[in-house]
Symmetry: C2
Subunit: 263 residues, 2 copies
């Protein structure tokens, strides 16, 4: 079993990934992003991303009801269905699902963010949260019957509301259930870079105990990814490959030693 995570960047070669996957003799699950598409459509609809800054100085995306609408349109709608179509063209019988469908990814909504407004502290709460459980019954029902689950956000919260969530966290709880041998993550870079600004500084191997140190080395989304990776190994992952999703044969390259291998 392989878990494949496809980043939501504009230059990811999704066709190449799907074509490569169609030649494998292993079962797999795909989790995909769509952030570039989301931002583009949100802009066109006149609903640009909202960002709030917490009282303690951290900024985060604020997912209100209309942001969730755009997420459904772009992740679960356009992106998911175009990938399903591509899969079908390459003989992969994909079934595209958001976390809401059959409650396949259930989570817990965040309590809210403490912000300062006109000098006063207040709590604002959006539709975002952490994935907690997988509907393994539905997931295995599909896998055992020859279907390939193609998953994306939103997921469903404890009161059956749609919420946004991080794909890295979704991968973690999927791993708890499917115990994949390999987890492939396709990003818009050659892999983990020693210097984020130097594409030639690819780190070929990272061992599990190095993750803590690497986490301190990086910033932004990469920091969150390192933290998620640490948890992934706690969930029993043996091998994670973070590799270039922009090249001609992303999966074949990753399986033949491309990118960064963490084990």
């Amino acid at each position: 079993m392989i878990i494949v995570k496809i980043g939501g960047g504009k230059s990811i070669n999704i066709k190449g990934i799907i074509q490569d996957l169609s030649s494998l003799n292993e079962k797999f699950i795909i989790v995909h992003g769509a952030n570039a598409l989301r931002d583009e459509i949100a802009q066109k609809l006149g609903q640009p991303k909202k960002v709030v800054t917490s009282a303690s100085g951290y900024s985060s995306v604020f997912s209100d009801d209309s942001a969730l609408d755009v997420m459904m349109m772009t992740y679960a709608g356009l992106k998911n269905k175009r990938i399903v179509e591509l899969c079908q063209r390459y003989g992969i019988n994909a079934v595209g699902l958001s976390g809401l469908d059959g409650k396949i990814i259930q989570g817990r909504r965040n309590k809210g963010i403490r912000i300062k407004e006109n000098g006063k502290l207040k709590i604002v709460r959006d539709f975002s949260g952490k994935p907690k459980t997988v509907n393994g019954h539905l997931l295995n029902l599909l896998l055992d019957n020859g279907y390939v689950p193609l998953l994306c956000v939103p997921i469903i919260d404890e009161h059956n509301f749609a919420i946004n969530s991080e794909n890295d966290d979704i991968i973690n709880i999927l791993q708890d259930v499917v115990k994949a041998d390999k987890i492939l993550q396709f990003i818009e870079a050659p892999g983990f870079l020693d210097d984020a600004h130097d594409p030639d500084s690819l780190v070929k191997q990272i061992c599990q105990r190095e993750l803590k140190q690497r986490e301190e080395q990086v910033s932004g989304r990469m920091k969150r990814k390192m933290l998620a990776l640490k948890k992934l190994f706690e969930s029993g992952a043996h091998k994670v490959i973070i590799s270039d999703g922009r090249i001609e044969n992303p999966v074949i390259n990753a399986l033949n030693g491309g990118g960064t291998t963490i084990q």
Copy 2:
């Protein structure tokens, strides 16, 4: 087994329909539209509906690649996932699928439309077609395991491309597979009207052999609906109720003699 068709008009009370369905003790499948939402989003994105007029004078919607994009966003994305969320809130474990997913609705692409351009005849071909087969294996796998399929366009053509299709035709091929006892169709009118402009002219009962005559009486989309109904009875339907989807309890009303019953 009940097949429920929810029209894509703006004033359909989807919450009322889902709430009613959650109290039934029968299995059901839902097929939904989203035309009002599609038109609204297409307008906002600056991609209004394209219409072509055939050489013989008929106008029809032209579903090009970008129209399919908008269809995926609105039908399979926003509308489908918001209904799944609503279903989950009422305890219905819905799984939202387009016809592409698991090839659950397969069809054949139309050959093209003959148009006259600058005095010359030419054929233009869009992404639309007729549904031909249902993946009964996947449909029954979900139904037998307690999931409620919530279906929408696009469907998948013979070369694995996404195509637009009529929901009335999709209902017909679903009926071939599931042999529903009742088919409920919720529209933005009290039912079939003797005079399309008079909401008080509801026809309570239509017998199957009257359908031909009614087809000649009406025009536009209603004509197509009458034709689809004739075929539905040829597919073994026993009872179809066309009823008001705008009221407080649309399903309870339809099951208690509301709307137009065709049998």
